[in-house]
């Protein structure tokens, strides 16, 4: 029978299945970071258990780490204790590899997995972090888990779960110039809603998706969770294989040949059925900007902030009104009239080399507008930073008035010092615009790297398609 990519990945990892459909799924790769792991390791120790397979674990410290003054260490004692707890747990329990704070390969967990070849097609990948969906860009079955599940995977190498329904998101045609993977993923969320993917694994397909680089596909799958889907997927093709060749943990020699032959089968069969199909035309997608407090609250840059009075559903209307109040935006304000205070280029959504290149291209030879209090670039990892510096991108950014920082999650969630102050408005390349996400009272607008860069120069949002 014709199977979807999701079916193949699922079938390939079922250890046993209960009559009600609950299954034990074998986990190949377990990514670990400091925030969601301490209680799991503690639980393991208290029960006198050991990790089932230490070499499945790849770990780093990213959420709490500072992005400047690394020579001073981690100043916040609460953050430092959490990072040191991970250091201790790594010593005590072990891992295939650990990239600690200050390591040259340290970085955001969803950036370092793929760039070191620790994420491979056909794998099951879990992490105590919802944006684990990112790794689905490689044709891996990847999903975020909670701390109890982290402990469960450490102890048993398995997850207890039920099969999801499948959704096919097909983007036909070619993306217009200036329209990126970020805009596609935001447009999809705008279409199906932030709960539209709940209970589904989304496979993204179509000409526009095939046309995306691996970086772009990661951006796309990263935000599957913002549509409610724990898993986002893209089928394996030549780009997937070319990206992985030669990476630190990618298979070598005979194993490489064998792996590639298998990986090439990781696509949906002709005629396989999905539970739901959503189709978009690439030509219709425009640069997107969120205006509210949920990624679903998104609009084209050349449009206006919507008017709740036009919304008929009272629950939706109330939700929109609350969001606009928090965001301090009046209905019908043109998106390009929104003035900004801070610019954040970073996060596991958009802090890979290609993202930084796109932003640098926009700011080259220009200056950050005088109303912008802070514009910062935070590379996704030490390797991204090194690559960017070798291309001179750091110079381009600093010459334009941006701060060039050390890698980490940074102002995506502000667990370190990088935060918005109450009332500050930020153009951010991250993935969540929830109330207080970047700092209590802060106001977040999600955009692509090029759009964030252009907004930094103009001081307000501009349409990248006509920006000069």
């Amino acid at each position: 029978m014709a199977r979807t990519l999701y079916d193949k990945l699922w079938d390939g990892h079922v250890v046993r299945e209960e009559p009600g459909g609950t299954a034990l799924i074998y986990i190949d790769r377990h990514l670990v970071h400091e925030v969601t792991s301490p209680q799991a390791y503690e639980g393991l120790a208290l029960a006198g258990r050991k990790p089932w397979r230490v070499d499945s674990v790849v770990a780093t410290a990213d959420h709490n780490t500072p992005t400047k003054d690394w020579d001073k260490g981690i100043q916040d004692p609460v953050s430092r204790l959490q990072v040191e707890t991970l250091d201790d747990n790594m010593k005590k329990f072990g891992a295939k590899v650990y990239f600690p704070f200050l390591d040259k390969r340290q970085g955001i967990v969803h950036v370092i997995g793929p760039e070191n070849g620790a994420t491979l097609p056909g794998m099951t990948v879990v992490c105590g972090d919802s944006h684990t969906s990112t790794h689905g860009a490689f044709g891996a079955l990847a999903f975020g888990i909670g701390t109890s599940e982290v402990e469960h995977v450490l102890a048993t190498q398995c997850m207890v779960m039920k099969k999801s329904k499948t959704m096919h998101v097909v983007v036909d045609g070619k993306l217009p110039t200036g329209v990126t993977a970020k805009d596609v993923t935001l447009a999809v969320i705008g279409r199906i809603g932030s709960g539209g993917g709940t209970g589904y694994a989304i496979e993204y397909a179509g000409e526009a998706i095939r046309g995306l680089s691996m970086e772009g596909r990661m951006t796309l799958c990263n935000m599957a969770i913002e549509a409610g889907a724990r898993t986002g997927l893209v089928a394996v093709d030549d780009k997937t294989i070319a990206y992985l060749e030669g990476r630190m943990f990618a298979p070598k020699g005979k194993h490489w040949e064998q792996a590639v032959a298998y990986w090439r089968t990781l696509k949906t069969d002709e005629g396989a059925k999905f539970d739901k199909v959503v189709t978009l035309r690439a030509e219709d997608i425009t640069p997107q900007v969120t205006w509210g407090t949920n990624p679903q609250m998104v609009a084209p840059v050349d449009s206006k902030v919507p008017d709740p009075a036009q919304e008929r559903d009272p629950i939706q209307r109330e939700w929109m009104e609350r969001a606009l109040k928090y965001m301090a935006l009046a209905p019908n304000t043109p998106i390009t009239a929104i003035q900004l205070d801070k610019i954040f280029i970073g996060s596991c959504t958009n802090a890979r080399i290609e993202d930084l290149r796109a932003a640098a291209q926009v700011v080259e030879g220009k200056r950050v507008a005088s109303n912008i209090k802070l514009a910062m670039v935070v590379p996704g990892s030490g390797l991204v930073k090194e690559q960017a510096e070798s291309e001179g991108l750091d110079k381009v950014f600093t010459a334009a008035g941006f701060e060039w920082r050390q890698p980490g999650c940074s102002m995506c969630l502000g667990m370190n010092d990088d935060q918005l102050s109450p009332g500050e408005r930020c153009a951010s390349t991250s993935n969540r615009n929830f109330e207080g996400r970047q700092g209590a009272g802060g106001r977040t607008h999600l955009v692509s790297p090029a759009m964030a860069a252009a907004a930094a120069i103009a001081g307000h949002f501009v349409d990248i398609r006509s920006f000069k």
Binding site: V15, R16, G20, T22, L24, Y26, D28, V35, T36, P38, Q39, E42, A47, R53, D55, D76, V78, L81, L120, M123, S130, T132, F143, G144, I145, G146, T147, S148, E149, H152, A155, Q157, C158, V160, K162, S194, G195, T198, G228, R230, P251, H255, W256, Q258, A259, Y262, N294, I315, Q316, W319, R322, L413, G414, M415, R432, F434, G436, R437, A440, G441
Partner: protein
Amino acid sequence: MEKFTRKEGLVAPLDRANVDTDAIIPKQFLKSIKRTGFGPNLFDEWRYLDRGEPDMDNSKRPLNPDFVLNQGRYRGATVLVSRENFGCGSSREHAPWALQQYGFQAVIAPTFADIFYNNSLKNGLLLIKFDPKIVDQLLRETQATEGYRLAVDLEQQTVTTPNGESFAFEIDPFRKDCMLNGFDDIGLTLAHAEEIKTFEAKHREQQPWLFA
């Protein structure tokens, strides 16, 4: 985990859609390496007027009088009723921990986000999905009737209102069993250790590079 059978308690309404986990427990409290102590910071940014930090004495902080849980009539609530897509966002298990440690034993909403749903049930926090119409009714009755209580019976899979009206809910039989008996998931899985090892050996043979 503690067993969950039948619980009866005061209801609080949180009449908004898409309550995300950043709102349930803001990031600064995720720096803790413990599993406890999150109750006082549940809905921190909505509940207090000042900005919360991990080392504060929460009893001295100014409360936001407009936030529903700060109204005297909802003090001691154990059942929360909210709107669709409750628990969306991050995978932080600190969200169900905070709800539980505040005192909630069950949350009722039309839909829940997937990761939050699993995290909650694993901790014995029962999440009940009802049709939006029933949720509407429960929210209305809670707001109209001071001291409104609901009886939640997991065994029977019902929620019963004070005037005896009863609504049935669905739950996965495996999850129900775990909650009723307070099972330790890991122990259950390890009972199948031999099967896991057999699978692993076959998997290693087929995809040796995964184990290299």
